[in-house]
């Protein structure tokens, strides 16, 4: 572990590691290495370029790049320039890119020629330069190439004075309903998470981290800030590898990765199609997943395939970083039901509250609220939302204790672990009964022939909403939709039964790999409206 420094900014460890282990790979990509000294040097030049382009402490700089060394250099360069980075999904449309630039009021955008077609035709007035293009843009904005940016002098005396309380990054939600919400994290909240994770999992300088998700996804902060904090190496896994499990397994083996952190999807595909039996994954000592429920039977397989690894179910909305975790014990099997989200991480104070905002009695269901130094400052330029997102309580001295309302419904087990029951907004009323859609989903996914399942509501016509399921069957499974619905019906009370279950080869996913239930519902509700038929469940 790096010695405590003051102030501890998210990019501070990079400088320390560059002094201590200059030739060690900080990041690896496609077989090549970017050493700590190379990253320190290039990010310093990038920072200087940004400062010369007008970036000042507290500004925002958007980052629109596929994960790569360039993206890594940009990320650290933006922080060193004193700005907050605003990562944009590299698969985003022109419209979305423009929206994020507008909302964040970005001073600069760092990108690359490969993204030219996805750049908007015009830019907000806040923008002073686009960095990373070799040819000019039609829009009235300065363009600086990667070559120019990295041949600039280093930051030197232009280094900004910064505090841990300065913003470090803003991650925008997908905004499938309404305006995207910008989750604001400071150097302090980001570093608090990196330190907590390093201590909790015992992460070390000889670890080799994976980076399996985009920079616009909060899980990536472990791969970039916790790894540099402990002076380890991170292998950036390009998107194509995440979609082709046999290649992914090969890469994990070849890079001898020791730490993995992703949504369940990549792990699930590895278990199903990665041919793991023929791979030596013995170096993999820590496997963390979060963001979604891991189908218990696939988790059982993973637990069996990696008997010596620590497997952790990690929970925490991006607003809080991580706040609970559950260490999946050896020999864990699917008969034990859903995996708990576990107990509070060090430094997190949890409440389970009822509709009246008071603590529920032990063992009763309620919404989880969290107070921790890893928590966001709030939503970017959303005063209204920030009034309702937090619960404030007075401490013993009258000080304000601020809890983030997660919107997640949990229940505490007698052993102190929390079970995740579903989203507050996934509670639906069906024929007058309260139904938890996640419970319906678990019932379908729990059947032996099912690989993955989703449950959602669709509007058959004005005012008539029904619960519907969708399932991906296991390979070579032939059960029909009607028989599957009948099997599910035996597991659920009548009011919670899906009216029918669609069998699909795959589900639409969000950028982060989570099942996109909204898209699924839209895809299938069109059909429902046409046929208007209610199947027999």
């Amino acid at each position: 572990m790096i010695q405590p420094t003051f102030p501890a900014l998210l990019h501070t460890p990079l400088g320390l590691a560059a002094d201590a282990t200059p030739d060690k790979p900080a990041f690896r990509f496609d077989g090549a290495s970017l050493t700590y000294s190379e990253l320190a040097d290039t990010s310093s030049r990038m920072a200087r370029t940004l400062v010369e382009a007008g970036v000042r402490r507290g500004d925002r700089v958007a980052l629109f790049l596929d994960r790569s060394f360039q993206a890594t250099i940009a990320l650290f360069g933006i922080l060193r320039a004193g700005a907050a980075y605003v990562p944009i999904d590299p698969g985003a449309s022109q419209q979305r890119v423009r929206e994020i630039l507008d909302l964040s009021g970005a001073r600069c955008l760092v990108t690359t020629e490969a993204k030219r077609a996805a750049l908007p035709g015009g830019f907000p007035a806040s923008m002073s330069a686009v960095i990373g293009l070799s040819k000019p843009l039609e829009a009235e904005v300065d363009v600086i190439s990667w070559e120019e940016a990295l041949s600039s002098p280093d930051l030197g005396a232009r280094a900004q004075v910064l505090s841990e309380t300065d913003l470090a990054y803003i991650m925008f939600t997908s905004g499938s309903t309404g305006t995207p919400k910008g989750i604001m994290h400071t150097h302090a909240s980001g570093m608090s998470y990196a330190c907590m994770a390093a201590n909790l999992y015992g992460l070390r300088a000889d670890d080799r981290f994976s980076n399996a998700c985009g920079l616009h996804f909060d899980m990536s902060t472990l791969d970039y800030f916790c790894s540099t904090l402990v002076g380890a190496s991170t292998t950036i896994i390009p998107d194509p590898w995440l979609k082709l499990p046999a290649s992914l397994a090969e890469l994990i083996e070849a890079e001898r990765l020791t730490v993995w952190y992703s949504v369940p999807l990549a792990l699930l595909q590895l278990v199903e199609f990665g041919d793991l039996g023929s791979r030596d994954l013995s170096a993999l000592r820590i496997v963390l997943y979060g963001g979604e429920v891991f189908v218990p039977k696939h988790l059982e397989t993973l637990r069996r395939l990696l008997p010596d690894a620590l497997i952790g179910n990690v929970y925490g909305p991006a607003e809080t970083n991580q706040c609970t975790w559950f260490n999946v014990p050896e020999g864990w099997n699917a008969d034990r039901g859903p995996v708990p989200i576990g107990a509070a991480c060090p430094n997190a104070d949890l409440l389970v509250i009822g509709e009246d905002d008071a603590d529920v009695a032990p063992g009763e269901t309620g919404e989880l609220a969290v107070r921790a130094p890893t928590m966001m400052q709030g939503y970017w330029r959303q005063p209204e939302l920030n009034r309702t997102a937090f619960l404030e309580r007075a401490g013993a001295g009258g000080e304000t204790q601020r809890y983030y309302r997660t919107g997640d419904i949990v229940i505490e087990r007698p052993d102190g672990n929390l079970d995740f029951l579903g989203r507050r907004d996934r509670m639906v009323k069906s024929r007058g009964f309260r139904v938890e859609l996640d419970e319906v989903e678990r019932a379908i996914a729990g059947l032996p022939m099912v690989s993955e399942a989703a449950a959602f509501t669709v509007a058959l016509r004005e005012g008539v909403t029904v619960i519907r399921g969708a399932a991906i069957l296991n390979p070579d499974e032939t059960i029909g939709a009607r028989d599957l619905a009948a099997a599910v019906a035996r597991l659920l009370p009548h009011f919670a039964r899906p009216d029918r279950i669609e069998l699909l080869p795959e589900f639409p996913r969000t950028g982060s790999g989570k099942i996109d239930r909204r898209a699924l519902a839209e895809q299938l509700s069109g059909e429902a409206q046409v046929s208007g038929v209610v199947g027999n469940a």
Binding site: D89, P90, W241, K243, L244, P245, A246, D275, E506
Partner: protein, 77 residues
């Protein structure tokens, strides 16, 4: 065969955009996991081949050229 595969990908997976033979198909915003499974199903149905999980690799599915070469190899086998 090349054209059959190209037509399927362009019409069904990348929304009528033209793709080049050696363009990476699986970057963010292009074909997703769902799309990969659809390509596999399409190839199995159209060319009467069975694609084992161990073949789900970049070298076989990364580009249009890679897919065509892979299918040619499988159909010859």
């Amino acid at each position: 065969m090349h054209e059959t595969i190209r037509e399927f990908i362009e019409a069904d997976l990348v929304l009528e955009r033209e793709i080049t033979a050696d363009e990476p198909l699986l970057l963010s915003g292009m074909i997703d996991s769902l799309g990969v499974m659809r390509i596999v199903a399409f190839l199995e149905a159209s060319f009467g081949i069975k694609i084992p999980a161990s073949d789900l690799k970049i070298s076989n599915f990364g580009t249009l050229n890679a897919i065509a070469a892979y299918v040619a190899k499988r159909t010859a086998a």
